[in-house]
Symmetry: C2
Subunit: 227 residues, 2 copies
């Protein structure tokens, strides 16, 4: 298995090539730290960008939704997509307006979507999604309240093999013009992070139901914990 994606005409960064990353470790690290992707596709000749939850398994990402969804129906025959994931890491504050920026990590993925068709495959993909979010919960639910056939039927699962992929990262302090460092202007970074708060139950728990340990600690999600 190659350790990097081969850059193509549309994934190779031409400006600021130092921000481009093609190694799978970097790409997967970003993909496994976010929850929402933006799926770009062409519908009747017009661009359309739909946000949706996704997950990665090995060399593919998956997303799902109602079988009646416009986006999923448009893509289930193998439609072409550009799927982009972006994480904001900070506000970059420079000594000149021109050099203000954002710190971020992003991944762009190009290819043709495919439909996960066989019920046992759909079941396995959805179980993997649950496991990625809440390890152990799928097994717990399957014991008490298994996924029903008609529930599986009501959703469409699409996948994208990761082949034409690049990451783009900006990190670190502002890059000011050398002579501007003498100016009496504050410059630096305001870090930004997505944090998970304390879980709030829905007020309808059956008597004696406790928060499982797996939901009390969501550190595997790459979310910080809000205190």
């Amino acid at each position: 298995m190659a350790e990097s994606f081969a850059p193509t005409a549309r994934t190779k960064l031409r400006r600021r090539p130092q921000r481009g990353h093609y190694d799978k470790k970097t790409v997967y690290g970003i993909l496994d730290a976010a929850f929402i992707c933006h799926i770009g596709y062409v519908a009747d000749g017009h661009p359309c960008v739909t946000p949706t939850a996704y997950w990665r398994e090995g060399e593919a990402i998956y997303w799902h939704g109602s079988a009646a969804s416009r986006m999923l129906r448009a893509l289930e025959q193998g439609g072409e997509v550009c799927v982009t994931v972006t994480i904001l890491d900070g506000l970059v504050i420079a000594r000149s307006a021109f050099h203000h920026s954002l710190n971020y990590r992003s991944v762009m993925m190009f290819g043709n979507a495919y439909k996960v068709d066989a019920p046992e495959d759909k079941r396995a993909r959805m179980a993997a999604f649950m496991e990625r979010l809440y390890p152990g919960r799928n097994a717990e639910l399957e014991r008490v309240r298994p996924v029903r056939k008609e529930e599986l039927k009501a959703i469409t699962v699409l996948g994208l093999h990761l082949k034409e992929v690049s990451a783009k990262i900006r990190s670190g302090p502002p890059v000011d013009d050398e002579e501007d460092h003498a100016l009496p202007i504050w410059a630096g970074v305001v870090p930004v992070q997505s944090l998970a708060g304390t879980p709030v139950d829905d007020g309808r728990l059956a008597a004696g139901t406790k928060l499982p340990a797996g939901l009390a600690d969501l550190s595997h999600l790459g979310l910080g914990r809000r205190r």
Copy 2:
């Protein structure tokens, strides 16, 4: 001025219409609480989704970048776009795998981009961007280190008039099947929020330079403050 956007065939939510919002107050509230949008466009027949910073002024959004940027060059002649902004608000944990979800606020905007051409217009748009992020900073910088003509020339500013726009919001607890409430399974929401940390200077401040009050309090950005 109309208070709502008129739904069109592609902005009207067909499934779960209760999640659709067309009033400008709701749409602008979401747009003014996020920093990064995803610009979808068609390049040589292929979909492409580029993440970038944006800002809103009245009935338009703007974004900018290097005049050499592929995306900006593709769109500056009035290319068609779908621009999507998404904010993750929570992980929705239900009593069945099927009803797990995410809480989010998103806006989709369709139309043709236009280039902000006149230097004085570009200057005004960029000043508004700075003012949206860091009120007062633009005036401070203009006194000490004004934007140079060649800096303005090096960037392209694009805009999109907000006409064909909708918001989609999911909030609140999981919606479980009625009979599942008796099961001994925890259900509720893990709130997620983007928080700003303490500003970190770049280690090259001129002697005596202090953090301006405007950067110490970023509450206007809709970011929580990390403690």
